[in-house]
């Protein structure tokens, strides 16, 4: 089932862009910066959620007949991650700018949490249990394994970033606050990319087996 039809998807994107465009003049040219920040972040959130829901809601009927399950899942997750990262950085930049201009960041964060909440509620209400499990046992195992490797890479990245900070700054120094969310987003992107690569590797192995039979 496609949760968002093309028309609904376009409408949501247009609403998001309209919110964002409507918010910019408030921030740049007026004294009422808080409503502008709220509109901008909410607009970005709506666009991000619309793209994420669209990507996640591709049904079995939309698939190509001989499409590899693992490959499809890998691409879907990776595109969602890219969308999340792009809009994450975008919202992060907007909030930083808002803070520089003296607007409390809590307003922007509330807008972000509100749009995330709406997305989660839509996903929960639209989710229907499939009569047949989407992945067989082997695919499920490989997916979990790839997720585990991706998570380990994220942890490794966090340790590496911490050690680099210590070696550059020293034990008594201070790090700028902006570097922490940047490190978090970069780590998530790194872990997600590794997960994608592992899944693609397994998908390739699957294709080899199905072409020439099991060894």
């Amino acid at each position: 089932m496609n949760w968002l039809k093309d028309k609904q998807f376009c409408t949501l994107i247009c609403i998001g862009i309209a919110f964002y465009l409507f918010g910019i003049p408030f921030v740049l040219f007026t004294e009422w910066k808080s409503p502008g920040i709220f509109l901008g972040v909410a607009g970005g959130g709506v666009i991000g959620i619309a793209i994420a829901i669209k990507l996640q809601s591709r049904s079995k009927a939309d698939r190509k007949p001989h499409e590899n399950n693992l490959k499809r899942k890998a691409y879907k997750d990776f595109l969602s991650l890219i969308a999340f990262s792009v809009f994450g950085f975008f919202i992060y930049g907007f909030l930083t700018y808002a803070d520089m201009k003296g607007t409390p960041m809590l307003i922007g964060c509330l807008a972000m949490v509100a749009s995330m909440g709406i997305g989660i509620v839509i996903s929960i209400f639209n989710k229907k249990k499939l009569p047949i499990p989407e992945f067989d046992e082997r695919e499920f195992y490989l997916l979990q394994r790839a997720a585990g490797i991706g998570s380990n890479c994220f942890m490794f990245f966090a340790v590496a970033a911490m050690l680099v900070a210590f070696s550059l700054i020293g034990g008594r120094g201070a790090v700028p606050m902006w570097s922490i969310p940047v490190a978090l987003y970069t780590g998530l992107l790194f872990g997600g990319t590794v997960q994608f690569l592992v899944l693609m590797h397994h998908a390739k192995e699957d294709e080899k087996i199905s072409e020439g039979g099991t060894v």
């Binding site: 909030l95 930083t96 803070d99 520089m100 960041m105 809590l106 964060c109 195992y141 979990q144 394994r145 997720a147 585990g148 998570s151 994220f154 942890m155 966090a158 340790v159 970033a161 911490m162 900070a165 210590f166 700054i169 020293g170 034990g171 008594r172 120094g173 201070a174 790090v175 700028p176 606050m177 902006w178 922490i180 969310p181 490190a183 978090l184």
Partner: protein
């Protein structure tokens, strides 16, 4: 009870004890000397490190097959839950500190390992707890298999 369950119990007990003692120590120190010195009570979290001895304490039994497909699935599920919890802690702490302090501020470099350790300990604790819950769920099914 198999080896995985025993190891999970040991982790839960060590981390739980460390957390409880830390909470008590921080509370007492706060009323006696106040923050920031009261944070020294978090040193009790070091007790969690004893959980790392679990594989040595509970050695593998080489005579029997102890790890079947069901155990593997439970392990995968619990690992996933552990990482999910650690992501939430990591993300929540990073963004929370950022929102609280503001982007133009600076924080001590010593905060970074504290954030990482919180996520790391949470991952192990939740993984062990989920393992115990999943095995406990399965044990409720009567002998002869699920209906």
């Amino acid at each position: 009870m198999n080896r995985t369950q025993k190891m999970a119990w040991m982790t839960v007990i060590c981390v739980g004890t460390g957390f409880l003692l830390s909470a008590i120590a921080v509370t007492i120190l706060y009323y006696r000397i106040g923050f920031p010195r009261a944070w020294g009570g978090l040193g009790f979290m070091g007790l969690s490190g004893f959980a790392g001895l679990a594989p040595t304490v509970f050695k593998k039994d080489k005579t029997n097959v102890e790890f079947d497909e069901r155990d593997r699935m439970i392990q995968l599920h619990s690992t996933k839950s552990g990482f999910l919890a650690s992501y939430l802690v990591f993300g929540g702490l990073s963004m929370g500190i950022w929102i609280y302090q503001g982007p133009h501020q600076t924080i001590s470099v010593n905060t970074l390992p504290q954030i990482w350790m919180a996520a790391f300990i949470t991952a192990f604790f939740v993984q062990s707890l989920t393992t115990l819950i999943l095995y406990g769920k399965d044990n409720k099914i009567s002998e002869g298999g699920a209906l």
